[in-house]
């Protein structure tokens, strides 16, 4: 494979140039986007600490994601994924019309293997984590 850089125009975010090393391969795709296997993580200083997981094959598909520890300091993946030098969990952020309806999906984290550059979306067993965990504390919303 030539080490050419690929240019990707991402709606609303801008143009990125990426090489194969930048890509996370999801053998099973994302849930609901099983046909899209390759993703990159895009960020910018003005959206910190948010990132967007962008499908390389279809850059109109992008999911805002966060490290779960911003929301829940003791968030834990199953034992097989606890090596933080290898596995990084990201949770999908969902925005509804009302700011109070921003939720993060702690139940189905996207786990990146930053060594093998692979990724997968898990669905955690049990009821410890919610798929619609409110991002904003009601006290914060009330003080707006």
């Amino acid at each position: 494979m030539p080490k050419q850089k690929q240019t990707l125009i991402i709606p609303r975010l801008g143009t990125v140039r990426l090489s194969r090393r930048d890509i996370f391969h999801f053998p099973a795709g994302l849930i609901g986007f099983e046909q899209l296997k390759d993703y990159i993580l895009v960020g910018s200083p003005d959206m910190e600490p948010l990132r967007w997981l962008i499908a390389v094959e279809d850059p109109t598909v992008g999911l805002p994601v966060l490290l779960p520890w911003y929301v829940l300091p003791h968030y834990e993946l199953p034992a097989a994924y606890t090596d933080v030098t290898t596995y990084v969990p990201l949770v999908v952020v969902t925005l509804a019309a009302e700011a109070t309806q921003i939720t993060v999906n702690l139940k189905a984290p996207i786990v990146l293997n930053i060594r093998s550059r692979q990724g997968q979306q898990l669905i955690l067993p049990g009821d410890r984590y919610s798929a619609t965990h409110p991002l904003m504390l009601s006290a914060d919303v009330a003080s707006l």
Partner: protein, 99 residues
């Protein structure tokens, strides 16, 4: 769809590597035991569909309201330094503008 009738205690083998056993049938509830190799994801269908819907909704998010909401949110400090391999756009557009 392949349709099979099974009684409690009977099994179905799929591809020789997945076994589904009917554990009990009581009052309209079937309890199934499933054995599959590691890496085979098994979920209740409605849970999978709920995650599917959340993922799809997430793709429609507009950046400015999301960022604005985050700014108003009290986030916890990260417990440890985490490397997030991020690409930054070269020709950045003003947030949230198209074309």
């Amino acid at each position: 769809m392949l349709v099979l009738s099974r009684k409690a205690g009977e099994e179905i083998a799929i591809d020789g590597i997945i076994t589904i056993r009917v554990l009990s049938v009581e009052r309209g509830v079937v309890r199934l035991g499933i054995e599959a190799p590691r890496g085979v994801a098994i979920y209740r269908r409605e849970l999978y569909q709920a995650v599917e819907q959340l993922n799809r909704n997430a793709t429609t998010a507009e950046l400015p309201p999301l960022v604005a909401a985050l700014r108003r949110t009290r986030l916890y400090p990260l417990p440890l330094q985490t490397v997030l391999p991020t690409i930054f756009p070269e020709q950045s557009q003003p947030l949230g503008t198209d074309g």
